[in-house]
């Protein structure tokens, strides 16, 4: 019988009822009295000097309240970057100012220059048209390789070569060179990890109001981490102390990383609301989202693998150019370094690994974390490379992987992380069973009978989630701690509100988190509610990203619940005139061990708030506890994925026929939600592999800025997926033994798809070593023409 209660139960989501009936409350659904509307005039050139801005005609337009320009932000902080990476020469990274509204120059298409605040949105838009803006266009820096050349134009005038940092990590050069010098075979691959746009279906929205009486600002915003926004915007941009700034992220329609960051628009509306003493609202259009939401990926990599005569991996070396865009977004600098370089060992015991990354400024939208953030880039290059090595050596790609698997834990990689636990053989065994490898030949024959090519591709992945020990990330340059917090508030009649720092924007925390508390207390989930997304209600929190909510915030919730149990046992002991050490809690009843004496959960909670018969000299009334949890290590979900594709040789079109994912997420609280997370990740990974890419022309114009041009995966682009998470090796260092499941699908799927396409082509006699993503019909067809 499947569980229907507590940890492990596939409980239906309670939040669904409001979403299914149109009763969700997203930021754009919030309107406040006296609200004004903001429209940004954005740069339509990639790079230029602002020679004049004349707002006088626009200011006279109907309904205009005020027009703001960069001048209004002189002396006010720019948008901060939350992670300082150190160059291999020991210098800090280059960190040019990132203004809220452009100061003197524009550096990417979409950069906000002016903001018109008006009584209606139409009036704001009309007035923006009347602003006389002159920009002297400058040569745009678009190509990363060109950007690094001495003669290149400069995105930031005082930054020749457009280099943000040159980072080196892992084994020393001599060790890696020795490994390559002794290699029996070296496989080399150059590839691009295509630039993507996260595209949560809800565009960003920011609505700010200001209460002059108390000097208090409130920002409603589409954020994955409202406390982080409060801290960054309050402390670094606008100078508003936390107790005067409330940030609310209500229902948020997807994030995928792009709603982590602090954006100019939310700082602007908060600033403007104070200036004009009226609420200011901005709602992004999808077109604006394409040119103002931080983009993802965009790496160009050369990677080399050294193998000995027995096909053991003995050395790995990578050189990556990582696009930062025009400015450093909040966590941009950490993505190609600490979230990418540290994962280059993958699932393999390669003894010498060196990672080199140059981060480059270009006249494009800032690039930052997108689902997986660094780990998909690491996985794609490594797993494509291993497949290429297998083909070159004429060995089975699964066998080559198995031979090199890390098989004992804990395992310290040459790239600084220590995997606490895992079982890569088990997930690979599971995968082989799920995808039915013996049946492949028959399926291939069937495809060929229809005139199609069929290919099979596999890959492994590992990720580091639950970011992570604050003291470690601090040493690595993080400017924040990465713990999380939870408050468990037990009410007098026994119901519970749990205030969590994690934010749910599709992950189902409102359902899954109560399952944990219910399990610990032995009470029904319906007595427990989760409160999230409002800095005025929640003590603190670092938010949701990097598959960390349950591993980090869930652990804080467990710790707070343990404190509740400890105190409740003392109260129960008093009520039953027993010793607290003898009290047991089971199924919501406190009993004295070895006796038939018991009191119910509700009796104890009532006693805490009506302390007539209560040990007041020993413990305080009330039943509310807070815990902050700082993890001891990252968690390391891992798995093996396989894909079967059909390729139409006439058109080059690829269709995904079968996809299987065997994941090790450690313990699982709600398997239904976990499977849904994997499904979504897979579609995003398949989207990256086959469909999605962000295209700039040589002038820095963004050509893929709508759903007419940017190919989002649709229902007909993907199959039913087979997913499994039964090969669980619980995390060894958090109380739930959970690892995180949010990003796996997006990390693990692109190489399997591309490997499958190449298998199909090579089997059909086309000698194709690599095709860059997206593996579009055009690219496949071209590759087949040789």
């Amino acid at each position: 019988m499947p569980k229907d209660h507590g940890i492990g139960a596939a409980q239906k989501r309670r939040e669904d009822v409001r979403f299914l009936t149109g009763a969700g409350k997203y930021t754009d659904d919030i309107n406040v009295y006296g609200q004004t509307y903001c429209h940004f005039l954005r740069s339509d050139v990639a790079h230029g000097k602002i020679t004049s801005i004349d707002t006088s005609a626009a200011e006279a337009m109907p309904g205009v309240v005020r027009i703001f320009t960069g001048k209004d932000f002189e002396g006010i902080g720019g948008l901060p970057c939350g992670w300082q990476v150190t160059d291999k020469n020991g210098d800090p990274m280059q960190e040019p100012p990132h203004p809220v509204l452009a100061q003197g120059k524009v550096r990417h298409v979409g950069e906000p220059i002016c903001a018109v605040v008006a009584e209606t949105l139409e009036q704001a838009r009309d007035a923006a048209e009347a602003i006389e803006l002159e920009i002297e266009e400058l040569p745009a820096v678009v190509d990363m390789r060109g950007a690094l050349e001495g003669g290149s134009a400069r995105v930031h005038d005082d930054l020749p070569g457009n280099l943000c940092y040159d980072w080196q990590f892992g084994s020393d050069t001599a060790t890696v060179e020795a490994a390559f010098a002794s290699a029996a075979h070296v496989t080399t691959l150059e590839l691009v990890n295509n630039r993507l746009v996260a595209n949560p279906m809800e565009p960003r929205v920011a609505l700010a109001e200001y209460a002059r009486a108390g000097d208090e600002s409130t920002l409603y915003t589409t954020s994955q981490n409202p406390h982080v926004i409060r801290l960054l915007m309050g402390a670094f941009v606008l100078g508003i102390p936390e107790h005067k700034l409330r940030v609310v992220a209500p229902d948020v329609g997807g994030g995928f990383g792009t709603k982590i960051f602090h954006y100019a628009e939310e700082a602007f509306v908060t600033f403007a609301a104070r200036q004009i003493n009226r609420p200011v609202k901005w709602t992004s259009t999808r077109s604006e989202a394409f040119m103002s939401d931080a983009h993802g990926r965009d790496h160009v990599t050369k990677i080399e693998l050294a193998l000995d005569a027995d096909n053991n991996f003995i050395g790995l070396r990578t050189d990556t150019l990582a696009n930062m865009g025009a400015y450093l977004s909040t966590f941009a600098s950490s993505v190609p370094t600490w979230l990418h370089g540290t994962l280059m060992a993958g699932n393999y015991k390669t003894p010498a690994i060196q990672v080199n990354v140059k981060a480059v400024f270009t006249n494009t939208v800032p690039v930052d974390a997108y689902r997986g953030a660094g780990r998909p880039e690491a996985t794609f290059q490594l797993e494509r490379l291993v497949d290429k090595a297998a083909r070159e050596l004429g060995v089975d790609p699964i066998k080559l992987r198995r031979q090199n698997f890390i098989d004992s834990f804990p395992y310290a990689t040459p790239v600084a992380v220590e995997y606490d636990t895992g079982n890569y053989v088990a997930t690979m065994d599971k995968l082989e069973e799920m995808i039915d490898i013996p049946g492949f030949a028959a399926r291939r024959a069937e495809s060929e009978a229809k005139g199609k090519l069929r290919g099979f591709g596999v890959n492994c992945y590992i990720e580091a989630c639950g970011i992570a020990p604050s003291n470690l990330v601090g040493q690595l340059g993080a400017r924040a701690g990465l713990y999380d917090a939870a408050t468990v508030r037990v009410n007098a009649t026994g119901s519970i509100s749990v205030m969590v720092g994690a934010h749910s924007h599709g992950q189902g925390h409102e359902t899954a988190f109560p399952q944990v508390v219910a399990d610990m207390l032995g009470i029904d989930e319906s007595m427990i509610e989760i409160v999230h997304g409002d800095t005025s209600k929640i003590p603190f929190g670092m938010g949701t990203y990097g598959s960390r909510s349950l591993a980090v915030c869930g652990s804080a919730m467990v710790r707070a619940t343990e404190k509740i149990i400890n105190k409740a046992k003392k109260i129960a002991a008093h009520l039953m005139e027993a010793s607290a050490g003898d009290i047991e809690l089971k199924d919501g009843m406190f009993t004295v061990a070895g006796t038939d004496k018991s009191v119910a959960w509700g009796d104890v909670t009532l006693a805490a708030y009506v302390p007539h018969n209560y040990p007041l000299t020993e413990i305080e009334p009330g039943l509310e506890e807070t815990a902050f949890y700082d993890p001891a290590n990252f968690t390391y979900p891992a798995g093996a994925y396989a894909c079967e594709v059909e390729v139409d040789p006439e058109t080059g079109k690829v269709t995904i026929e079968r996809f299987a994912a065997a994941d090790d997420f450690g313990n699982v609280v709600n398997p239904m939600i976990v499977e849904g997370q994997v499904h979504g990740g897979l579609a995003q990974g398949i989207g990256q592999a086959l469909l999605e890419t962000c295209v700039y022309d040589a002038d820095g114009q963004l050509l893929s800025a709508s759903y007419m041009d940017y190919a989002m995966p649709r229902a007909s682009d993907v199959p039913f997926y087979k997913v499994d998470h039964s090969c669980a090796t619980p995390c060894t260092h958090n109380p739930l033994g959970v690892k995180g499941c949010g990003e796996a699908g997006a990390i693990g799927s692109p190489p399997a798809v591309v490997n499958a396409v190449l298998d199909a082509l090579n089997h059909a006699g086309h000698d194709v070593a690599h095709i860059d993503m997206p593996v579009s019909p055009h690219r496949v067809w071209q590759a087949m023409q040789g």
């Binding site: 989501r13 299914l20 009936t21 149109g22 329609g253 997807g254 499904h679 649709r714 229902a715």
Partner: protein
């Protein structure tokens, strides 16, 4: 300004509207029916799907003035009379056919329109019909499964979990 009168979820409403007011704006701003969402500006995403005289229409492609006299159904009117989820909504919950919920109103409206036309659609028919509804969270797996289940089909063998 034009006066329009229409029936929305069974209730008659009359309002003065601008000639260029889209149905999405009319529903959200004038009637405060914020369940109809706006996810794009090129009529691609389908988060704003509503029914106009029974036809499945993207609310961003039609002016309020064009709907004068029409019968409009939105997500807010889909539940059963007692407030419980209707068959399609219930199937979406049962099969985890939604995550962030933003595309969900459009998905439910499209699913309802599909099942009216094709009471027992195949997987391929569902995927084809949802061409105009983008979801970024679910990978479509559970949406397709939910719609099949809502049409009374046995979905227990789909991609054994």
């Amino acid at each position: 300004m034009t006066k329009v009168t229409m029936t929305v979820n069974g209730k008659t409403v009359s309002k003065e509207v601008r000639g260029n007011m889209l149905m999405t704006e009319f529903l959200r701003d004038e009637l405060h029916l914020t369940g109809t969402h706006v996810g794009c500006d090129t009529s691609q995403c389908g988060a704003c799907n509503i029914h106009v005289n029974g036809a499945n229409v993207k609310g961003c492609t039609i002016f309020a003035a064009e709907c004068d006299g029409a019968e409009i159904a939105t997500i807010e009117g889909q539940a059963n009379a007692d407030g419980s989820l209707n068959v399609i909504q219930q199937a979406f919950q049962d099969h985890h056919g939604l995550q962030c919920g933003f595309c969900t109103p459009g998905m439910v409206m499209s699913a309802a329109a599909l099942l009216k036309e094709t009471p027992k659609p195949t997987e391929a028919e569902i995927r084809h019909y949802l061409e105009g509804n983008i979801c970024r969270c679910t990978g479509y797996h559970n949406i397709v499964k939910a719609i099949m289940a809502a049409s009374g089909q046995d979905v227990s063998s789909i991609a054994a979990e």
